[in-house]
Symmetry: C2
Subunit: 242 residues, 2 copies
Amino acid sequence: MSQKADKHSNNGHHCCHTDKRHNNQSCITLVPIFNHLERHQMEEISKSIKSLSYKKGEIIYRPGDESDSLYIVKSGKVKIYRLSESGKEQLLHILNPGDFTGELALFRQSVHESFAEAMENTNICMITRPDLQKFLEKYPSISIKMLAILSERLDAIEKQSTSFATLSVEKRLVDFLIESAQNQDKEFTLPMSQKDLASYLGTTPESISRKLTALEDEGYIRQLPRRKIKIINIKGLLEKYQ
Amino acid sequence: MSQKADKHSNNGHHCCHTDKRHNNQSCITLVPIFNHLERHQMEEISKSIKSLSYKKGEIIYRPGDESDSLYIVKSGKVKIYRLSESGKEQLLHILNPGDFTGELALFRQSVHESFAEAMENTNICMITRPDLQKFLEKYPSISIKMLAILSERLDAIEKQSTSFATLSVEKRLVDFLIESAQNQDKEFTLPMSQKDLASYLGTTPESISRKLTALEDEGYIRQLPRRKIKIINIKGLLEKYQ
DNA sequence: CGCTGTCTTGAAGCGTTTCAACACAAGTGG
DNA sequence: CCACTTGTGTTGAAACGCTTCAAGACAGCG
């Protein structure tokens, strides 16, 4: 907890450097909420976008920070997590290039409620609340795109919430493995440390470790070096839990 | 489980009756996503709205149902819940007049993933996907209103998800009581049965009952007839869990 | 290479669930 | 209006799954 406490307490400001030299247009074409627009519209929006970069481990924002911008991940990886009142950390989701965060504060309030931390060196595009609102009014299709994405995210987190509320740790882990395996191949790399995975699945690193070795002993998976996991018997896994 | 199974299995169709006699305009003025519009715009939208009514216990939609409409609650109460793979039910939220549901299917897909059930006699306004999309494009402010609401909902469920993942049943219950008490007075009525509350908080009715009597024994609350609860010592509750 | 953080494993303890039985309240039909 | 039925809430005892703490192995990074 000690070094965590240091990280989570707000000492000093974001230690990122603005980076105006980046080509903003190349950023915007990556972004689902903008990339359907005409070229000249994208160029117009690009002018309002600021580009920032963060080193691994840097905090992009923390609870209580004033929030007046939408953040879009251009490259790298960002984890969004909350600290519960009891001090336990829960990983909510991981942003990959093209994903955005900060939408809440654009409409309702002006402080963040979670942490955003760069998991590796990361480039972020930022657009301020007034600018974005201007574009939302000017180009309704952006709102509609955002609505679609938020709806989907809502659906995903409702699912996650249900699984926390009703499923055992083992089942949640198996679900996660199966989902990860489908996106990639039957052999895949865990997208995060077991510590983070534990936080994501609402459990402890010890439990994750135990369950993984149990699944290996039962012949369902094999753990390989460098966080690689190979699923040997998907059918068995699916059957084991209906 | 037996009578539940009957309810959840799809036997026959929605047994609601359309009710064109209702004044749609009075409905639309209740709805946050529309009520900022000009009168003539609301009247225009009203023409695309269909009004339905459901009796207590009727299912409005169930997983797998094709979804191509936004549902807005005009009067009554609707509970949205999911069934986990293990068959356990989890209550996601309760819709009160003015709240809406079904947004996901408007953008992404065409089947529902959860149940919507009328908790009492309920009137619903429906607007179909093509109609709503037409209005979203015509009146961008509707999208922006919806974005605001979805952002808020996203925030709320992220919070809920975190609390499932990190807090004890007791703490979740206390949080719920404190929140309920603030909206209303220190004396308030549980907005649902203990069974539903258990499902909402991701636990069992037995645990809820035990925790409530424990809190009563410790002098924090008093349980009164008809699901009324009086909080005697909020300060103590808040201190007990920081 | 050595340090630091991650992963593993064991043993003990705890909170919650489960099952079962009963009390109670609400709603229904005779 | 009472008896009956059905669903909701209560309580106890046992069992279970998970966390916690502690200690050691291992891997990655400066």
